[in-house]
Symmetry: C2
């Protein structure tokens, strides 16, 4: 191979022109062969394919994207890829994208709206074909930015304006289910560790839990913080100072529940004998056996896969009316919850 020892030293990228010259045909013929599209006689096809191989030709993606107005790339903007819930979603999105030879860009907003807007601007400029967005708060500005540019976008996890597609879970229903179960176990005094109220998931889970619990004689106190481990710890300490103490804690997302477990451990409280702890969002499948945490589990993989598929559909057919898809959740009872003592 590399019979023509010349000019390969600096490995300049081979262009379609060079292939054409080598094969003694026009560039269009090469293009037809490479894309396997359009009429080319067998003899020519073979000659061209050979030249492609010999020269190591690879079409230039930027040129192609410029011409085609298409990049075969989508973007996934999440708050934090290290959140296992979003990690699983990312995996699913990439799996689906990969099926149709699409590439996936990702970015972390850390729940910051300005960061979210910055990413949206970047991918808009880059010319991705579509965006999957976990909105920081309501994502309004970023979503409208996309819409104004005709860029297909699907929100994930958090409810947004009905003008946009959204794929998420039934937060309210899931939280209500958990409330039912804790009530059944005899609990009546609850602490909820919640996030910012503008984050729909937090709002809905608080709402779902509170309404159900109060309807059945429970007493609920909500503590608001950020969706972080640190705030989970902090809020738990505050919550456990109440007198009388809550007998069950519901943390509305996984980071908060990790924090809660840390804090009750540090306080020397036994789980679940002295206090029950339950969360929302499961762990990645590989770790599901460890923190024996009772959770409302969301089908993260399915959520990501569905969102990605939905995005590709929307890319194909931008006229589709926006949809709000809510997947059901499952209560997974493990050993961090138990009967009231």
């Amino acid at each position: 191979m590399d019979a023509n020892g010349e000019e390969r030293l600096v490995s300049r990228r081979v262009t379609i022109k060079e292939v054409a010259k080598r094969a003694g045909v026009g560039t269009m013929t090469v293009s037809r062969v490479v894309r396997n599209h359009g009429y080319v006689s067998d003899s020519v096809r073979i000659r061209v394919a050979e030249a492609v191989r010999e020269l190591g030709y690879r079409p230039n993606g930027s040129a192609r994207s410029l011409r085609l107005r298409r990049t075969d790339t989508i973007a996934l903007i999440v708050s934090d890829i290290t959140n296992p819930f979003f990690t699983t979603i990312a995996r699913a999105v990439e799996d689906v994208a990969s099926e149709s030879d699409n590439l996936v860009l990702f970015g972390n907003t850390d729940e910051s709206e300005s960061s979210e807007i910055r990413y949206m601007e970047m991918v808009l400029q880059k010319g991705v074909d579509g965006v999957l967005l976990v909105p920081a708060t309501d994502g309004r500005v970023a979503l409208e930015l996309a819409q104004a540019s005709g860029l297909p976008v699907v929100a994930i996890d958090r409810r947004v304006s009905p003008a946009f597609d959204c794929v998420r879970c039934d937060s309210e229903g899931g939280a209500a289910l958990l409330a039912d179960r804790l009530l059944e176990l005899g609990h009546r005094r609850f602490a909820i560790l919640g996030g910012p109220d503008e984050v729909s998931t937090s709002h809905d889970r608080i709402q779902g839990f509170r309404l159900r619990a109060e309807a059945k004689g429970g007493q609920v106190t909500v503590y608001h913080g950020k969706l972080t481990v640190v705030d989970g710890e902090r809020l738990t300490r505050v919550a456990m100072e109440a007198n009388p103490r809550p007998t069950a804690i519901f943390a509305v997302n996984n980071f908060l529940s990790f924090g809660a477990l840390n804090a009750v451990g540090a306080l020397g409280l036994n789980v679940p004998d002295e206090v029950s702890v339950a969360g929302f969002d499961d762990l990645p499948e590989s770790m599901v056996n460890f923190p024996f945490l009772t959770v409302v589990s969301q089908p993260a993989y399915e959520l990501g896969a569905l969102a990605a598929r939905h995005l590709f559909e929307r890319i194909q057919n931008p006229a589709l009316p926006p949809q709000d898809l809510a997947l059901p959740t499952t209560l997974r009872e493990r050993s961090s919850t138990g009967p009231r003592r």
Copy 2:
């Protein structure tokens, strides 16, 4: 805004030409203003900036990349983004890339070489500026593919041919440290759960542990499988059938150690009283308190950040000689290990 109500219905993308026309200048002037580079009189600069704003102009990334031969995008190819070790690396890489307004593409190979090659081909075509690769086995083909095209590439986590840059941890040393400690605790019969021997990390950890343990009178049996939870479970069951049983298990990566914990739990064995379990790779910081697993912890975030910085350096200066950077590890003793009973 949008004073000129015409032609914005289908939100065609605005080009530099239209901005130039609107501002009554040439395209180069617009280009200069947009990039903030080159001489432009203040009065003109203001007029152009206004036109940009009014028209909602955003440079076309594909056109720019075609012209500049640069995409401001790097790729991160890992075996599985849901592996917390790689998740943390991904976060670090994206953080560093973001500092210089670069975007990050990611792909999962699932340890398959053909998948690895496929991603390499895709990003080569896309024209990314550089690649961060966690090689499936030795990554030879994929790395050479990049090299042949003059695409900067840095290997992460696993040793590769010295012809390439590599950022990883001192697997051998870390494993030896763990062996020392387990010996100190009185253990003499060890089972190692290892991955494929072509994966350097697995090989080095086995080697590091075995040499140290055997030098001090330990007896080591190695069980090979894939780096998965399922194989961690399977190998543990096999290992625990030995007679006499090992008193300590060392799993060379986190998935294997999760599997080990699952299996010993299922076998009804008490950890660490009946068997000690230790792993390699820590959990994400948010979860670090849970499976009270003793591990050789790798500075995953620093590893990812260093690799990314190294890649950007190499992009800037392709002539740099390749380096093999090995970061030190830390033994984190938690409650899954204890004295031999």
